[in-house]
Symmetry: D4
Amino acid sequence: MDRGSIKAILSSVKSGRISVKEATEKLRHLPYEDMAFARIDHHRHLRQGIPEVIFASGKTEDQVVGIARAMHEKSRSFLVTKATREIHKALGIKDAVYYPSSRIISVGEKKQKKGDVLVLTAGTSDIAVAEEAAVTASFLGSRVQSVYDVGVAGLHRLMDSMGSLERARVIIVVAGMEGALPSVVGGMTNKPIIAVPTSTGYGTSLGGLTALFAMLNSCVPGIAVMNIDNGFGSGCLAHKINVRV
Amino acid sequence: MDRGSIKAILSSVKSGRISVKEATEKLRHLPYEDMAFARIDHHRHLRQGIPEVIFASGKTEDQVVGIARAMHEKSRSFLVTKATREIHKALGIKDAVYYPSSRIISVGEKKQKKGDVLVLTAGTSDIAVAEEAAVTASFLGSRVQSVYDVGVAGLHRLMDSMGSLERARVIIVVAGMEGALPSVVGGMTNKPIIAVPTSTGYGTSLGGLTALFAMLNSCVPGIAVMNIDNGFGSGCLAHKINVRV
Amino acid sequence: MDRGSIKAILSSVKSGRISVKEATEKLRHLPYEDMAFARIDHHRHLRQGIPEVIFASGKTEDQVVGIARAMHEKSRSFLVTKATREIHKALGIKDAVYYPSSRIISVGEKKQKKGDVLVLTAGTSDIAVAEEAAVTASFLGSRVQSVYDVGVAGLHRLMDSMGSLERARVIIVVAGMEGALPSVVGGMTNKPIIAVPTSTGYGTSLGGLTALFAMLNSCVPGIAVMNIDNGFGSGCLAHKINVRV
Amino acid sequence: MDRGSIKAILSSVKSGRISVKEATEKLRHLPYEDMAFARIDHHRHLRQGIPEVIFASGKTEDQVVGIARAMHEKSRSFLVTKATREIHKALGIKDAVYYPSSRIISVGEKKQKKGDVLVLTAGTSDIAVAEEAAVTASFLGSRVQSVYDVGVAGLHRLMDSMGSLERARVIIVVAGMEGALPSVVGGMTNKPIIAVPTSTGYGTSLGGLTALFAMLNSCVPGIAVMNIDNGFGSGCLAHKINVRV
Amino acid sequence: MDRGSIKAILSSVKSGRISVKEATEKLRHLPYEDMAFARIDHHRHLRQGIPEVIFASGKTEDQVVGIARAMHEKSRSFLVTKATREIHKALGIKDAVYYPSSRIISVGEKKQKKGDVLVLTAGTSDIAVAEEAAVTASFLGSRVQSVYDVGVAGLHRLMDSMGSLERARVIIVVAGMEGALPSVVGGMTNKPIIAVPTSTGYGTSLGGLTALFAMLNSCVPGIAVMNIDNGFGSGCLAHKINVRV
Amino acid sequence: MDRGSIKAILSSVKSGRISVKEATEKLRHLPYEDMAFARIDHHRHLRQGIPEVIFASGKTEDQVVGIARAMHEKSRSFLVTKATREIHKALGIKDAVYYPSSRIISVGEKKQKKGDVLVLTAGTSDIAVAEEAAVTASFLGSRVQSVYDVGVAGLHRLMDSMGSLERARVIIVVAGMEGALPSVVGGMTNKPIIAVPTSTGYGTSLGGLTALFAMLNSCVPGIAVMNIDNGFGSGCLAHKINVRV
Amino acid sequence: MDRGSIKAILSSVKSGRISVKEATEKLRHLPYEDMAFARIDHHRHLRQGIPEVIFASGKTEDQVVGIARAMHEKSRSFLVTKATREIHKALGIKDAVYYPSSRIISVGEKKQKKGDVLVLTAGTSDIAVAEEAAVTASFLGSRVQSVYDVGVAGLHRLMDSMGSLERARVIIVVAGMEGALPSVVGGMTNKPIIAVPTSTGYGTSLGGLTALFAMLNSCVPGIAVMNIDNGFGSGCLAHKINVRV
Amino acid sequence: MDRGSIKAILSSVKSGRISVKEATEKLRHLPYEDMAFARIDHHRHLRQGIPEVIFASGKTEDQVVGIARAMHEKSRSFLVTKATREIHKALGIKDAVYYPSSRIISVGEKKQKKGDVLVLTAGTSDIAVAEEAAVTASFLGSRVQSVYDVGVAGLHRLMDSMGSLERARVIIVVAGMEGALPSVVGGMTNKPIIAVPTSTGYGTSLGGLTALFAMLNSCVPGIAVMNIDNGFGSGCLAHKINVRV
């Protein structure tokens, strides 16, 4: 129920077309309907921060395609994460771009890019997650630069990227195994750092829990930590921070 | 904002005292105010299911007493869980009853009791949690019977309580260690069972996690499980089920 | 052994047809036989609360079909959970209904429905578990309504279901990931709530443990919690509570 | 080095064929050689308690068959656990018996059976592990009786087996899910009980850890607990206890 | 109700002193009473395997003394585990023996000892648990020998106890830290072995979980494992096995 | 070593005051010295993001005071977290402010405040951590507003703070137990959200792990998560994001 | 940038070919370039300790082959771990040796062997990891001897290898299940011991965590522990220790 | 039984004083006795690698002093770890040195120091563990240098210690929280690295498990990892490696 509907009821009361009692009853149910409306309004704002997205993992190809087409009708612009090449083909949407490493599909990415998001990875096995982060932030309108394989075992590679670090407004650091890279990067810059643990590793990497806990315990205070392999979420947060004015 | 307030605005519109535009603005903010109101109204309903309660653990004596007195002004009827004898004394509220085993204080308990809640424990070490459950359900208006120390190592003791089981409308089963009692009781009755794991035990009892997981994995389907040592919660749920009409 | 059998033995003793020693021996074994008998009698009662069920997971197709047919002879009315379409076909039972999302087979569902069980899910990935809950409760004779995808990220969708919440006698809330929905629903109603965590999620969702623990720690007291993905159990409990008179 | 070799050295010393110094040197290395010998001697004793066994899981078919044939040459009597039907065929050993449920192969089982080992299971899904236990104990020479599906949800079934419980010299109880059966059996008998948790279950059964921990925390003291799904080990222990004289 | 009581009722029926109806009523309650009786009768048998025991930990001094005195009236012979010196003094029972290392009180220990239970510890920190095991088994009537501090870091100490190993009918092995000793002992003997993990250690000893899991995974099959620090339970089991005839 | 020092060496080379060889040697050590220098320079920048801080927990009073005084000489402006009132007194620094709830000491807080950081808590037990966050962000120069006790069990309280949510540039959400509040807030706003789990709770709250994992699994993407009870870190991150231009 | 380059710049300044300002600018970037250089220089040293290696697991065949060929151009000598036979074929490198048990490919192994590394395994299932260790150490230039299947269940087999233990300069002990072998070996020798837990086992072996924790808790102090199944790492460390002079 | 005893028996055989049969019997028991002897002999060798040590934690003051005095009689040279100042005083041994930070007592430390062990810590809270390591290695005869507080949040401090790194023969790296320092040090040197996780930290540091797992997952291969807070063990291992010739 929007402002117009409220006005209409009030006008009817004023003109005597409906009684005060009838109007009271109509307005009593307003909260939820209006709340619903307020949410829809909020949704528009939300979209500035978070894209429409379909998490394809655990859904059938048919389900994903069905939801994606419905979404395409409504908003023209959305992401599908953890998608397969088959889903991409089945979509039949012309401007849907498929990123095979990260298995993300981007539809209707923003042309205009702003700010500077830097995505770093510790190793080559972390690239899939990093790409998901980069595609997400870029889709939302952030300018993104990626530097891969600058892990702590060879710090000189990271030193070579000093310039990129200094230009960035926000830095996403993707690392598996011991998850030490965010601490090292955090010791070299005052930019907000988003740490994304990956499930890269074996044995006591515990599917990424070790990297996650290491990042949460960083001796550098103030590092933002995401769920394991959550490239998408880190892209959303990075964009939100990047576009703060 | 209640029905009366809405009516007042509408009457003002009708009489021309305020304009339609002014009234629209007033009502536009209704959702949140009304939501707040709805909550307050709901709260009253909620109180039928869940008592006002102060969780004393981790608060200073002063804080607990402060909150309790404020609450006493407003509702005259509430619980304090995990309280000390010192808190009870400091309260200075005449009808505040202190239960030393379960360290619960009950203020303004309902006189009228309905239905039939049965509280069973596996061992004597589980009695503190069971008493918290019993006091809570009784406080809310349920008739409560407690039978202690009927664990699976001597099933005949449980068999002796067959009559109580048959009379009960809902059964709370409190057990630590291997947490087997709810399964055994569940095999003997068709009443709703609420299982409360306790931290009784040592080593691989893991502070109650073993009993909790055992209860969640009961071969008897449909057992309601609570957090470890959560006598209070089980009392609330038991009362809700007990008073269904 | 019922009252009649005891009487018969006693009459035979009285009339001298059997000796005191023989009768003593017969009665000595009474407890277990009678116990067994009492169990059988109980079983009939139990069926009011819990359906006959075959948990198909981890059994071969042949085993499931064999047990199902034997059960069909005896009771005409049972469920098979975690079943495959192949099992459904192989059963060859005319009124066996197969639900593909939840992979449950229902045979001989009750026609008469009573009360009002509401099943909510946080997301679309939780629907399989919710359907298992709904089919189970409905099979047992409860009237069931399902509302899906009303998670906490968009509370207005939940607000739209306020009416359903108010009509329900008991509410099943199915949620994965952070498992927050039962707390939010619990803050809005005084009905008994059964929370079912699902294995939806990745990384630190830990196969549903995170949702489970979140539900056990709800700030709303008295929420009944089930094992991860345990739709069947929640359906049983909901029906038990729903039909309390 | 056996008694004969020592004698030979000593005779040589006595006859002067070798010097005291040479003999000292020879005997100085005796411990390890003799130790090796002692072990072999011990091995014979060990075989009364523990069979020669090949754990097939994680080995290739070729490897298992190779080891099995070598073993067959030497001892004629051994077990292969976690074997496939293919391995059984490939063995080409005439008296090798294959048990499909438990996937165990028995070669050269003892004809003579002694004592009385009772194997109970809580559910039908626990039968594979129970059969492994039964085959192992029987292979070693124990008389074994198995009673399946007597879980705590229907205690009358267990009560019907009271006679078997009283005859048994040692009882193996196999259970998954909440692992409560050993406690209940332990409350009914004074026989040594060996509890075997199984990985039957889902969610918080945690692959058998819940049943294991429940068994370790039994309120009945003195229950022997084995690793998850360790039917073989329980058969060994049961036999050892069964044949104590 | 024992065999004699049943006989008395039957005789009264036969002689006409009581009617069939009266007798039926008396016998109708037999199951539970008889069950209770059977338990009591069983209890006597149980006592051969498991002593009456009070687990003092988590009980107040008053509670322990109260239960102990009641027990003393009835059975004259029982244990108190995890007791304090204060409890021992407060008991005021003349023949109550207090063992300070293991904090166990033994009242009315059997004079007559049978068989041969050997208790080994890996280190000196494991002695408290070992003593609890030894006192328990001895209390029940087993002859017990203890050899301490024979851990795997110096196997020659264990070798020196070879004679004790060969004499024993059952061996309790108590070890913390890496829990390796039961495997080593198990490789040297065919006697039943009961492994008791202790909470000795720090860091990844995880309060005894590491020793527990190591023992459950022993490469020597058939080792009986107890809960962490459960000396009492191991004493019960050892006695049960020791006195098998 | 800064640009000026390099220039000086080069000028000396040019003028012949030092030889090429001497200059080479001087410059060879440049990397580390310069690195050290760069760090110092960086440190100044870092201080815009992260304050000098002493983590008092696990240090003696003497150690904390010693470090604090040394720090005071150098920078005049720093924090002490997890401090006691005794430490505050012992410091003897005039403008050191002690916050008793959060046990944080602030020395030389910035007068000038910018932007808008909102700190929310789910319950009253989360206030200590929230205050640590607020003091830290304020110390660094952020304008901070705190709203406490707006947990999901009564959403209307949160709704009343809608205005604060809309004004904020970044929101810190502090919650224990089920950790659901960040998800609910995240569904209502497009501002960057920093979620801080607290150790508030018992049983399966697992010292805050449940809240932590719930936050990492939020159905609202892009929430920044901190270590358990890490108010300080969240204050640092909030300030960094708040002051982005 | 090396000493020569610095000298050249300085000479140019001296001779006036470049200005002080130009030289300053060139040298200002020195730290990172020089750092990079230092790393490259270090890398050469590193190669004495750690081989170039490609961790094939989780990479596509194409990726592994691409990296391997690039590496072959540069260094002629490297390892591929967790490789498949297909990768070995696809490499097309003449002197690439494939080890099928451990799935490691060695290219350009050193001919000259030094010192003495002994690799022991507890069981036959641990051989794959042991072989990875042996191939790695041998590749780097260590002389390696392997003795398999000397687990603690039959210590005499270990005693037979006493000579090898005494000859070794460093000993790698590979064990799964209860992980006891390193403790036993550590009790028999004063050589540095590297313990490698393997994922051999089931149930509470927890994928190797039990063996890992057991090794970390060894009662023999000073045992070096590696990640689960980390044969490669243990080979690197053994070589480093073996070649210390 | 030593070489002399064997010689004596052989001489008696030669001279005819005892028969071959008698000598055979005497020698048959040789293994265990000789084994014991061999162990004692081995012990001497062991002492080159591992000091005699008393782990005081969990022992009474009396027990520690008793063991220490007995040890002092025998070997004059030993350590007491986790000791209190009271124990030090009570010892009454003149040359017993007490280190208050690490609570270690050293008696009879070697004067002669060899090689070069470097001990690094990430933070000041790790110094207690580092000191235990340093005292142990020094006690055994290693020359030890310690550099504290060079954690990854400020890498330049580590860079300043480059010279120490290059001189060291083996490096102990002590770190809590995220445990990243060993990886960074490992990237800068080819020396053997021993990583010691500490329990420094809170929340998800999990009492040191996070640092431990991070170290086990280091991207730098071949790092030796110790149990949490195990300074003593790392000192032993470092000395063993340091003195390899």
